[in-house]
Amino acid sequence: MLEAMQSAFVGLLSFQHFAYMLLGIVVGLGVGILPGLGGIAGMSLLMPFIYGMDQVSALAMLVGMVAVIPTGDTFTSVLMGIPGSSASQATVLDGFPLAKKGQAARALSAAFSASLLGGVFGALLLTGFVVVAKPLILSFTTAELFMFALLGLSVVGVLAGESIMRGVVACGLGLMVGAIGAAPATGESRFDLGIDYLVDGVPLVIIGLGLFAIPEIADLIRRSRPIAADSGLGAGWLQGVRDTFKNWFLVLRCSALGTFIGAIPGLGGGVVDWIAYGHAAQTSKDSSNFGKGEIKGVIAPESANNALQGGALMPTLLFGIPGSGSMAVFLGGMVLLGLQPGPSMVTTDLELTYTIAWTLAFSSIVGAAICFFLAVPIARLTFVPFNLIAPFMIMIICFAAFQARRDLTDLLVLFAVGIVGIFLRRFGWPRPAFLIGFVLSSQAENYLYQALQFYGWEFVQRPGVLIIGALTIASTLMALRSRVSEEGAVTKEARGEETDRPVHGGATKAERRPQIVFAVLLLATFLYGVMSSAPLSFLGSVFPFYTSALMVAFTGYMVMMLVVAKPGHSAHFDQELAAKAKGTDDGTTVWPSVGWFVFLFGMTSVLGFIISIAIFITTFLMVRTQLGVARSLLYTGLCIAFMSTLGHYLTLDFPAGLLQHYVEMPWPLK
């Protein structure tokens, strides 16, 4: 074993392997920084080069890429409030407020050092445990996996903010959207509205971008200011590193959590950042600062999402079951290299396994170092008026969404989810709760069904189930004690004090009308859920039916409170009114931003993506940013060149519109 470790180490140090690892790291950082693109896009970019490469170099490249995505994705999360990939959505919650306070440097350096430690920790655990992990991994059955899904859902309590009910309903909406598509038990299609696209369910990347990126961009366009309003990047590079080391125990716990979640096949890494974030809030003595720029809220998810990869490699290598999204593609890369994962990865191929583990550790260190180096130039972007960056960001987000299915519908669904996201944000329905519900929906349903089939109801007596059940109850109780509102920063500041009952939800029923309308729409959605799942077979309907029915009750209660309760009730919230109360309302509305999106998406369905985005970028720059014609055209040209290059290497046709249907066009227009 030691021999294998040693020769793996020596092998990696050769120039060629190191060079390929660096190439992987560069690609990984690139797709990490660009919002919405993650491991899958990175793998697709590297895939054509893998065939025919020697195994060690190719593995070094792939692992290098996977290792640094959760490091690089921190940039946009902290600097723009737009998650760089699904692994760092939770980082936004405190990272972005820190940046707005002028502490971007501190947040970034804390995030990078936490990423580094998490990545190395995951690699160490992989090295130490991969040989003995098999029985442990096998001891978690579908029954325990179901309980883990419940434990994950309990984090919703932490993120629910001032109104628990609102958190539960947002989570319920996520559960329902997550249930769209084929039922795990029967294959029946649910909630598909007759649209073929929805039979496969809504892709996670589109939910993530729609919920977090679109509303944030809409808001930034509306205000048309630089992101960091007043102060500079701030000093604090050292401060951030110190923060990480001061919270070493939290880093350790979250890294262990991340590795564990990765190691258990079937849990998936989709919400590891939120779980780590919830854990940090639950265990902090004073959680009042979370959501407003608490450094722990950056450190926790960043250490966990890097550690995840080390854990996720265990089931990937041992069983060929991917432990996270990017691992699924990594697995394909292995097969292409002629490597079949399986028990031999810890016997005859042990050296390869250690090569992978060492590369992971190396890349985490090198990746973090590069990020420190890049931080200053990239952070300057926050001083540029956002309207100058917006067209590029919108283009990248559309491109990332389109990677999900390579279908025009990707963009339309992105727009729809984005609109929902804008209103969830405005009326204070916590979007993280929605996301957690969405990710855990199919897991909870699938594992419950499978556990019942395998064990019957006796599964609840399994010791593992009882232990995780107890943890879930404890976590829920702790969560209720330390609630963090996504809008916490806004709500508290609205009154300029640290009390709990701000009056910003509208004093009169007329003022509350928009909230009421939205809540009624939610109610209608759940009613649709009840009605459309009722006629399905028992196994296909039981989960969505009861979830929707419960949510009808809760949402009904919320609607009632919105109508009859006295002003100041926790059910009342409207960011627009809060801004007015605070005096930060600048008389703008979000509708022009939405208009820009409608303009782009509508045009795309007619003219196709490349033509539309070119017109959109030029128009936006001239009208909104008020740039000259020449500069606007230059900017557009560079964007299109960038997009075409990426599209060429990914071998894809861009979304086609009606025009392409009738007229033959050369690539990339076709």
């Binding site: 096998l138 394909g332 292409l336 994962p341 089939q453 071998t651």
Partner: protein, 367 residues
């Protein structure tokens, strides 16, 4: 980096290659010259990056590029969605018959076609086959039942068997129908995301019957068999040039499913249920991956592709890599490929109706 290639498999691969070489030599040279110089060929795969079909395409792409006239660039283009129905339907409506667009389909594309799924907007009858890539698989059972081989299958009477399935209309339709024909009482637990997850359920002790395709079986299930925890029962078999079911060349000691049914029931399998099963068996295993050209492709282009495949199969580089990449099965073209293509994409309407009725009645499938 150690490739566990047994001498037997090597020998087998060699002899198949030699036999193929002998068979193709008399074929006359192609007619009108086709030249793809400077062109780019899109190899459309209706699945995502990194899956089985994707890796299969990426294995073949460089060899096609090398052996097609004019050495065009061959790029793999992934078009995932709808379990491959979306990508294949798009190919059917858009691809031009100029030889610059080719499609790789899999059992998951063929099953909904055979079942007459209304979402299917493609017809295999329109397409011309270039290459058929077979695969195989082995079914095994937990040793806890005391079954030593297929001969003891009687011991299972009244036992409840559990199988982790990816869904009744997925590739796991083959074991679903196969176990039925063997008279086994199997509970299918759906929602597995891959065969790998099914094997994991078996290893956890939640499922007690399972199958894996050949390469996964050799790598991950054989160790369980060697530990004494599982007993192999039968293979899904292979087909000879006439489409007759024969033993899988990788597992000559194991009976194939046809033999297994005969051993258990005492008579040669026949009838609608068997016919239905056999169509899906062939679509799922011997004809699992098909490389096709679009509707209306001229014969000279089809011939250019087939000639490229013939040359590819003689390429020493290909022969060195294929055992690892294709799991010890030979890819077929020309007559053998066409007969597999036909067998794997046609079904007797009566047999189809029987399967649909079964799936609707017992597994809540909706068509």
């Amino acid at each position: 980096m150690t490739n566990n290639i047994t001498p037997r498999r090597n020998f087998l691969g060699m002899s198949v290659a030699l036999a193929t070489a002998a068979f193709i030599l008399p074929v006359p040279a192609m007619a009108d010259a086709v030249d793809f110089s400077g062109k780019t060929i899109e190899f459309v795969i209706p699945f995502g990056v990194g899956g089985g079909s994707d890796t299969w395409a990426r294995f073949n792409a460089p060899f096609l590029s090398k052996h097609l006239p004019g050495q065009p660039t061959v790029v793999v283009k992934n078009q995932p969605g709808g379990g491959s129905i979306t990508g294949a339907s798009q190919f059917a409506s858009r691809a031009k018959p100029d030889g610059l667009s080719i499609l790789g389909t899999s059992g998951s594309t063929q099953f909904p076609y055979l079942l007459n799924d209304p979402r299917v907007k493609y017809d295999y009858k329109d397409w011309k086959v270039v290459l058929a890539a077979p695969t195989g698989g082995v079914a095994y059972i937990s040793s806890s039942f005391g079954v030593k081989s297929l001969a003891d299958l009687g011991k299972l009477k009244g036992e409840r068997l559990v199988y982790g399935s990816q869904g009744a209309t997925s590739l796991d339709l083959v074991p679903l129908l196969g176990f039925r024909l063997l008279g086994l009482d199997v509970q299918h637990v759906f929602g597995m995301k891959s065969r790998g997850e099914g094997r994991l359920a078996f290893e956890r002790g939640e499922a007690n019957i399972d199958y894996q395709t050949t390469s996964a079986y050799l790598k991950s299930s054989l160790p369980i068999v060697q530990e004494g925890k599982a007993v192999p029962l039968f293979s899904w078999g292979a087909t000879d040039d006439d489409g007759k079911l024969i033993r899988d060349p990788n597992f000559p000691e194991l009976p194939h499913i046809g033999e297994a049914i005969e051993m258990v029931t005492g008579k040669k399998p026949s009838g609608t249920e068997w016919e239905a099963f056999k169509s899906f068996l062939i679509a799922g295993f011997p004809a699992q991956k098909l490389l096709v050209l679009p509707k209306g492709t001229p014969d000279n282009i089809v011939e250019a592709y087939r000639a490229a495949v013939r040359k590819m199969k003689l390429d020493p580089e290909y022969q060195a890599a294929k055992v690892e990449a294709l799991g010890g099965y030979e890819q077929l073209t020309d007559k053998a490929g066409e007969s597999l293509f036909k067998e794997g994409t046609t079904i007797d309407p009566k047999a189809r109706d029987w399967v649909r009725a079964l799936l609707e009645k017992e597994y809540n499938a909706r068509f």
